[in-house]
Amino acid sequence: MLRSLRPLSKSAEGGRVIVEVDGKLAKVRNIKVDSRFDGTWDSREKIVAFSFDYCYWSVDAEDPKYASQEMVFQDLGTSVLMGAFRGYNICLFAYGQTGSGKTYTMMGTPVTIICAFFSFHFFLFSFLEIYNERVRDLLKQSDQKKPYTLRVREHPETGPYVQGLSQHLVTDYKQVVELLEKGIAKRITAATHIHNASSRSHAIFTIHYTQAILENNLPSEIASKINLVDLAGSERADPSYCKDRITEGANINKSLVTLGIVISTLAQNSQMFSSCQSINTVTSEGESSHAGSPSTSSISGTRRQAYIPYRDSILTWLLKDSLGGNSKTIMIATISPASSSYHETMSTLRYASNAKNIINKPRVNEDANVKLIRELREEIDRLKTMLLSFELRNSSPSWSEDRDGNLTELVLQNEMKVCMIRSML
């Protein structure tokens, strides 16, 4: 997982830079602790560090540590491509404050990837947007006044899908760019207080990548899916809500919206087996919406104790199984270096840090296992005793050989019975 930064925009130029990248660490200076800014990174100040698999600094092209788009592609794009080649599904998330450079990073990277291969493979593209829990096809012209809402469903054989989403066959790079631009233009844009060209919707660009191959001299195909997810800007859609603050109830009549969030969080956190955090809780932190369902999973037996009714599920629904297993997931978190964005920067880094632990861990049913272990111990004891006693008996001349045939059977039967009786103790 990596992180990249965006050059300070004109409006932020007056601010101070509070982020530093050092190898695989991202350090953020806590501006509350240090009110005097003297440009040096004093170890006495409160500095919080987050570690990632990759860190990129792309604020200033002149900086020796500058990471160009090419570099990012090198590290990231190659791994994506190789994975898809071998039949893995890929999911690439971009998360971060609006204006921190997500869209740029996200869209730039896949474009470079795609132009690499075009023979014996074919690509189907689709592009959708999730806004206020409604799904829209970004590549289809809707003539009605109301935006056409698509339904998300799951099929046992074909997995989660969006009913009615258009898929476009692409044969050259130019078409890819055209599709991207068309889709991006259609996205609902809403001005936030930071960046004008931002969007408050999630967007998922999906590439169905099919390779035609010969397997045992028979034509076959390897299919994989690459999802590029642009997560909505991490400010709340409702600017007055913030996780670290209290939501005012004064203007809310009947619906104390946050109450639902608080209760959901309480219920989630108190679960014994919630060792994994789902991508939904990560993404929902970035919206005014509600705490998501934890996708804690254990292999059997000891499963979740509670069911949390959750309200926004579209995103996780579509991408649920893209974490762990035979999928490769990469998350790009983008942050702004400006001091004015301290809160959002910290939020993003914290969530991205947590996202590293998003793995659906299969777990063993320990009840059944304990019983089995006890039985096996008894069996072992019995075997040891038996071997000992037979060693003694074998030295005795009373066991004649012609009785051995029947004896074997007798012995076996007796052993089975003893075994079974013991196993029920």
Partner: protein, 502 residues
Amino acid sequence: LNTRHVAEKNGDKTVCSQFSISRPNNLGILWSERDEIKTAQTYLESAEALYNQYMKEDGNPPLDPSEHFMAEEEKLTDQERSKRFEKAYTHTLYYLAQVYQHLEMIEKAAQYCHTTLKRQLEYSGYYPVEWALNAATLSQYYLSKQCFMESRHCLAAANVIFSQAGQVPSAEDNETDQDQQDLRQRKAEIARCWIKYCLNLLQSARKLLEDNIGELDPDRQLELKAQRKKEEDEKEKGRKKAVLFGTSDICDSVLAMEEKVSSVYPLDFQEAREIFLVGQNYVQEAKEFFQVDGYVTDHIEIVQDHSALFKVLAFFEEDYERRCKMHKRRIDMLEPIYADLNPQYYLLISRQLQFELADTYYEMMDLKVAIGNRLEELDSHTIKKINSLAQLAIKYYELFLDSLRNPDKVFPEELEEDVLRPAMVAKFHIARLYGKLITSDGKKQLENMQTSLEYYTFLVDYCEKYPDAVHAVETELELSKEMVGLLPTRMERLRAKLCPFI
């Protein structure tokens, strides 16, 4: 900050109180925005204390702050004044709930959420569906604390309030299909919360009743029954103290709903079965909306809950044959879904089902063995049954192991952290299962022992190659080493007997 001074000097308690609730409320918010949660807490708690003090000492609602700036004629009625006062207090509680959550004072946060919900019903107004969902979610929190009485109360209230949603005409009368759909979904979600209630109650009871090999301990059962008799009186007192939802009109409905299911631990099969049946009804209700075609993941989770209900009910059942039938029901509901599932999109669920099916077949095999032992002789029919169940268990453990292969079908050299233990346990269980297969054919017996040995050896070899793995399977490793030591000798003896040296 100056207003407080003025109000105090005034000496008018009435004025002082109202000022002192909304002011600390607002200050609380202010301080929270400055990230000084503790200060916010102080202000809000002072508002709360003032309310309590005020309600105890006085009784008439104080003047609303806005009234100080109104002419005499414009002043509010007592009723309106009281309403606003109570609303301000509800907000205090609402803010405190948030504060306590941020301070990670979980129990207090839950308590304040609960009270806020209660007050919404009584004073502030609410959206029925949202209220019902919140109550249902709060019930899940209570489940984790084993507070079944409170949990049931929340769920019962959720049902009652949710049913209001259908009755009250919505503000926009053009209810779309989407809205109808949403309503049905919410109802199904509340049903799922109820399923968890029943499941948790049964499972908690099991933990209290089981002995050290997982069977029902009759002594403990007697003990707990006696204890329960004693506690019945105390429970009544506890009930009266609890925070109950309900204005007079819904109170009765909530009570009626509560009476349909117990909130005390079931201590025998009869009691367990009653709770099981309630759970099963909610399973059917939930499945009406969460159908396979469209909601694969949710549907499967519900079926898994249904399977878990059967599993825990089996614990209470004394008769082995009937127990076996319950496990068979589990197989019957899980196997078909598993067969239809594409692991490419549902890998984790697929693996969960494989393990659960394997464990269930193992459980059934064990029961058949126990049943067989009670007879004089093991007849061939029973032996066949035992073996076939063992083979099926092996099959599903193998399927799980296959799921770990990469796209080139190669089993990984080194296992990833999150699948390490399950994979090792699967190998271990397969080894054991081969040891339990019954055959009178000596050659076959040898083959089984050989296979068993190979699987035990895998564990031992893997842990030698990757010492970090040892921590994940210590006990299993220890036993595997023993078996690796003992089995060859045993096999030697058997070989010797089969082909005697002339």
